[in-house]
């Protein structure tokens, strides 16, 4: 009997095959490659579920499958001789993520039938091929068992997002957005690669798990108080951890490398759904979860993660409030939500962070696909001020979108509430002890209000009131390939919270925190990669007010209250048949928010007004000075030659005279030398 694990590589290879098929034969296939993609992602989903069930049965899988580059262990160069391999690690975390990714990818493929095929796009084989490659890269990234393999597929994910964001390459804006996405994330990946190199050079291994893992090696080094590269072991772990974090900040669009993500809305909406929910952006946070044991060794790194997360959550939420484009609102909500996940991980809430990652994958995919459906309804209009009144004309879209919105805002009992509450609770109890985390918590808590506000502003403007344009009054119908994914995700957005009802468990004492058990190795377990192990390593103190239950209720009440307050504010401001643009009353604040705190401006300035002039200056220096010296040398010899050649007059008489004079001079020299005249 073959086990699921023997087929593990197939999970990623199916979409790769779909990539090749769609690229080579997509033109000739009935749905231009969509069917290959759907079949492949469905197969990936089946195998992922099989692996998931097997892990639930108590088994895990960690195997090196391919030696990419083999350093010679007998080399006298010592630690240089390490091996770089490809391997698969199937533990609770990765199988969970595999299921999420392949599920979302499948739904996005199905949705694309309605969004892309039905709209008669050109270049569909390319689209499906790139989706396949995207899914392949992400799946391979998820089950990677070492940091280098993770980096490699992390980069491929970046490539695919570049290709897909730039799908409509005939426009001016899409290629520019694609370039920005790749370049900004590349900047983050520079630090990531440096981190990978540093970790490999320090510990001689890049494995995530097992006795040979760099996490264990780092722990030993800290215990042994070793000096690594001139730093104390813990400092060095912090430095390398933060370097890797650079890649995370780039990919997961955290401040200050978040600027690419709103621009990435230039891609097809389906692609946005995939990027935001399950692949590119999720990759960053997943990486932190994957190597959480390493960050757990460094309180400084964790504090930075938490602080960046909390800040980004608030920062992005405030910008989301003033956007008019439905996809832009969702883009900023993504940045904000990933900020929450980072905060959750940073305060040691490993389970909470992963829980939110999962829930967010469902409800954000739902919201984006819902936005895609709205865009179909609206004949490709994305400005919310031109929508309105879609509630009655597209009920399936409306109710599923509403489910997603409630989850995003964190309203009980939708999934988003449970995971966000858990993150906030973890941050709260830590914030009571440590003011740094307290500030991060406060920012995240404030962001809850803005989340409610922008979410319901979006819902109300889009679906409620009276139609504000002809397209809204007479929407384009949507087919089953659109509604089916929406319905599936709508249900998940509602019920996914059941996976980890931590507050209820704490209040009632019931053992229903299944996700925590799952990640804590109650089922399948890989040594060291458990919640308990991480918590022990970190050893954060937990503060409380009165009692644990009371603390819990205070935290949950604050979060829920602010979310509802935000939603109500939106209702008060924007409900009614003809909503008013309240945002403009904000005055100069509106300008700042509208311009995204001028983050784009300074980054563009760095590229255009700093780097480019420096490059031009270097070019002038190169052409003028360096090449000038080269040409100067040749000019000097040319000039010298030009002078000497004048001796050659072409008049025979002169030559004869010269010969004569030369002869006489020679005679004179020999004569003087030989002493004739003495």
């Amino acid at each position: 009997m073959a086990t699921a694990f023997e087929f593990a590589p197939a999970i990623a290879l199916f979409p790769l095959a779909a990539f090749v098929i769609a690229l080579a034969f997509g033109k000739y296939m009935p749905k231009k490659g969509a069917l290959a993609g759907i079949a492949a992602t469905a197969a990936s989903l089946v195998f992922s579920l099989w692996a998931f069930v097997t892990v639930a049965g108590g088994e895990t899988y960690h195997e090196t499958l391919y030696e990419w580059a083999v350093g010679d262990p007998t080399s006298e160069a010592g630690v240089q001789g390490i091996e770089f391999t490809f391997g698969i690690l199937l533990d609770p975390l990765s199988t969970l993520m595999l299921v999420i990714v392949s599920l979302i990818a499948l739904l996005v493929h199905v949705f694309s039938l309605g969004y892309m095929n039905a709209e008669g796009e050109t270049g569909l084989p390319r689209y499906y091929a790139e989706l396949g490659l995207f899914t392949f890269s992400m799946l391979a990234f998820v089950f990677a068992d070492n940091l280098l393999m993770a980096f490699m597929f992390f980069e491929l994910v970046g490539l695919c997002s570049y290709l897909l964001i730039g799908f409509w390459f005939r426009t001016e804006s899409a290629p520019s957005a694609a370039k920005k996405a790749f370049l900004v994330t590349r900047f983050g990946d520079y630090f990531f690669l440096l981190g990978v190199v540093a970790i490999a050079a320090t510990f001689g291994t890049l494995q995530f798990a097992g006795p040979e893992s760099f996490v264990d090696a780092a722990a030993d080094a800290i215990d042994g108080e070793e000096t690594l590269f001139g730093f104390g072991a813990e400092t060095w772990v912090t430095i390398t951890g933060l370097l890797v974090l650079g890649g995370v900040i780039g990919k997961s669009a955290q401040f200050p490398l978040h600027t690419w993500l709103p621009d990435a809305m230039e891609g097809p909406t389906t692609v946005s759904a995939l990027i935001h929910a399950a692949t590119m952006v999720a990759a960053g946070v997943y990486l932190v979860a994957r190597m959480f044991g390493y960050y757990a060794l460094s309180p400084t790194a964790l504090a930075i993660i938490a602080f960046v997360g909390g800040f980004t959550a608030l920062f992005a939420a405030t910008m989301g409030v003033v956007k008019d484009d439905i996809k832009q609102v969702l883009a900023y909500s993504t940045i904000s939500q990933y900020g929450y996940m980072m905060l959750g991980l940073g305060v040691g809430g490993y389970v909470a962070g992963v829980f939110h990652l999962m829930n967010h994958a469902f409800f954000k995919a739902l919201l984006f696909l819902g936005a895609g459906a709205v865009i179909i309804l609206m004949h490709h209009e994305q400005d919310m001020w031109k929508m309105g009144g879609l509630k009655d004309k597209a009920p399936v879209t409306y109710y599923t979108f509403l489910a997603g919105a409630l989850a995003l805002a964190g309203i009980i009992p939708f999934s988003g509430f449970w995971s966000k509450d858990e993150i906030l609770y973890d941050a709260f109890v830590l914030g009571l002890e440590d003011p740094v985390f307290g500030v991060a918590y406060a920012m995240a808590l404030l962001a809850v209000f803005f989340t409610g506000l922008y979410t319901f502003r979006m819902v109300i403007l889009t679906f409620h009131g009276e139609p504000r344009s002809e397209a809204a009054a007479d929407p384009h119908p949507v087919g089953p390939s659109v509604t089916f994914p929406l319905a599936t995700l709508g249900v998940l957005a509602l019920v996914a919270g059941v996976a980890n009802l931590a507050p209820i468990a704490k209040l009632t004492g019931m053992d229903i925190t299944y996700l925590e058990f799952w990640l804590d190795g109650e089922y399948g377990v890989v040594d060291g990669l458990t919640y308990t192990a991480y918590t022990e390593t970190i050893g954060y103190p937990a503060g409380e007010i009165v009692s644990e239950q009371a603390t819990l209720l205070i935290a949950a009440g604050l979060g829920l209250g602010l979310a509802v307050a935000g939603a109500l504010t939106a209702y008060v401001l924007y409900s009614g048949p003809e909503p008013v643009r309240h945002t403009e009353k904000l005055g100069s604040v509106y300008g700042v928010l509208r311009n995204n705190y001028y983050q784009d401006e300074y980054q563009v300035w760095l590229a255009r007004n700093l780097t480019l002039p420096v490059a031009r200056g270097a070019d002038r220096f190169d052409q003028g000075v360096i090449d000038g010296v080269v040409n100067g040398v040749s000019s000097v010899s040319l000039f010298g030659g030009g002078g000497v050649k004048r001796l050659q007059t072409g008049v025979v008489t002169n030559y004869a005279a010269l010969i004569m004079l030369g002869f006489l001079a020679l005679l004179l020299v020999f004569g003087l030398h030989g002493g004739w005249f003495l």
Binding site: S75, A77, M152, E155, L159, F169, E172, A174, R616, D627
Partner: protein, 508 residues
């Protein structure tokens, strides 16, 4: 005798092509070039050498005859292959075949002479990589310049004469410096050597080095010769500040000449650096120059990339990025670790393939549009989807995308350099050089956005058509090789490592 056959067949083929009618010259040259390609691929499979050619390794396909006796020195025909030279020979033969196919479209004048010269270059390039006697090696080394001078000077662009003369004089003067230094070294070694065979000279060098020569102490002589040879090879590589001949030569050279120039000729410099400076000289000599050389490497990477950022001619962009990529090779060499030196060798092969691909792709676009200026065109992806697709793939290869050979090479170099024990402040140098991967993404993405994407715009009075199959086919082959090496670097890294290890010796 197989190596002699390889060179002889190519030389005879060059002569035959040179005299053939223009009409058939292209096809004939391609057919002939398949022979060395096939032979070298066979040698690749039948390779049975081990160790480093200069350090008592077992040579594959070795052959040695005495040729000339010059006073107390013997000059011999001494050729053989080890794990460093074999991949480069294969690179040469394969790239030449592909370059010949890629010139079918652009070359429409004096074809027979053109293809004859290309084959003549190939023969000499093979010679450079197989020769193990200094004198023999130097003959091939210099002989490469002549056909390349003619290719640029006869078939080149508007400023071809300037570029060709600059190329020839610059590299020739550098050869002179290097030659003088090497002869001084051999004379300085005195009785320890009786031939110009490189293994023998290496042994003498590692055995104590030169004695006093012309009033200069042995150790000083060693240092001076090291620097002089480094400078001599640095021009060929080229490293900043000796790089200015390269963009001019590339811009003026016809596409196939650019392919060979970037693909193989630049590797002659790094190959020679590895063979002479980093193998022949003991590691304590190398380590005295570690920091300056690493600084030069970093400057080459960053400065070259910055220059590429400022260009608007596609060929100049690729040319300057070659300077940048060659900086990585220097960094890998000076790291003096298994992954560093091995990665540098890997990068030679990898960059040969990738830059060859890039020049071919730019050439195909130029064939169709008759312009290379970024500012002149946009939206080319609409008109020539396949060629543009390959150009994008090549550009990402250049950026070091994982699963393509460029990433493997760069990763090996960075990893090797980061933990280098010879180089002080190695992590800082590595981090600085690594920033090149961001700049390279910047200028390539920028150029691609401007030329390939956006609405189609190009002012021409003729129809821009898709590239013919024989223009695109060689690029597919190169792309296949790039991906194969990226997925399975062990294909060649295994033998490279085997040849590199003895260099590092037990001293580290």
């Amino acid at each position: 005798m197989i190596i002699e056959t390889l060179i002889a067949v190519t030389l005879v083929g060059a002569l035959v092509t040179f005299l053939a009618p223009n009409r058939i010259a292209g096809k004939l040259a391609f057919a002939i070039s398949l022979i060395p390609a096939a032979v070298s691929l066979w040698m690749f499979t039948a390779f049975d050498g081990s160790g480093n050619a200069l350090l008592e390794g077992t040579l594959a396909f070795e052959s040695r005859f005495e040729w000339i006796t010059l006073g107390e020195y013997t000059i011999s025909w001494f050729v053989g292959l080890d794990g460093i030279s074999l991949p480069l020979v294969v690179l040469t033969t394969v790239l030449t075949s592909l370059a010949i196919v890629s010139s079918w479209t652009p070359i429409d004048d004096r074809e027979a002479q053109f293809y004859g010269l290309v084959l003549f270059i190939e023969a000499n390039l093979i010679g450079v990589f197989v020769a193990l006697d200094f004198f023999l090696w130097f003959i091939f080394w210099e002989a490469v310049l002549i056909p390349m001078y003619l290719l640029i000077g006869v078939w080149g662009g508007p400023r071809r004469k300037y570029a060709a003369i600059k190329f020839f004089v610059y590299t020739n003067v550098a050869s002179l410096v290097m030659f003088g230094a090497f002869i001084a070294l051999v004379v300085g070694l005195g009785d320890a050597v009786t031939s110009f065979a490189l293994p023998e000279i290496t042994e003498a060098m590692l055995d104590g080095g030169p004695g006093e020569f012309a009033g200069i102490a042995g150790t000083t002589l060693t240092s001076v010769v090291f620097v002089a040879m480094f400078v001599g090879f640095a021009v060929k590589v080229p490293v900043v500040p000796f790089h200015t001949w390269l963009p001019d030569a590339h811009v003026e050279a016809p596409t196939p000449a650019s392919v060979l120039l970037a693909g193989v000729l630049l590797k002659m410099g790094t190959y020679a650096l590895l063979r002479f400076n980093f193998t022949m000289f003991p590691s304590d000599v190398v380590s005295t120059f570690a920091i300056p050389i690493a600084a030069i490497a970093v400057i080459s990477v960053i400065y070259g990339a910055m220059l590429a950022l400022a260009q608007t001619d596609l060929k100049r962009i690729v040319a300057y990025s070659s300077v940048s990529s060659m900086g990585y090779v220097i960094l890998g060499l000076i790291a003096y670790t298994q992954y560093g030196v091995g990665g540098a060798t890997f990068q030679m092969v990898s960059h040969g393939l990738i830059s060859g691909l890039m020049f071919m792709a730019v050439g195909v676009i130029y064939n169709a549009t008759h312009t290379r200026m970024v500012t002149d065109m946009s939206g080319m992806a609409d008109k020539m989807p396949v060629a543009v697709g390959i150009l994008i793939a090549g550009a990402f290869g250049y950026m070091g995308l994982p699963l393509m050979s460029g990433f493997a090479a760069e990763y090996f170099i960075f990893f090797g350099a980061f933990g280098s024990e010879m180089l002080e402040y190695a992590p800082i140098f590595t981090a600085l050089a690594m920033f090149g991967i961001v700049i390279v993404a910047g200028y390539l993405l920028f150029a691609m956005q401007r030329t390939l994407f956006g609405p189609y715009r190009l002012e021409t009075d003729y129809e821009v058509t898709r590239a013919p199959f024989h223009d695109v086919a060689p690029m597919f082959v190169l792309l296949g090789l790039i991906i194969a090496l990226g997925v399975a670097p062990e294909l060649i890294f295994d033998m490279i490592r085997d040849a590199v290890d003895p260099i590092l010796g037990g001293e580290l």
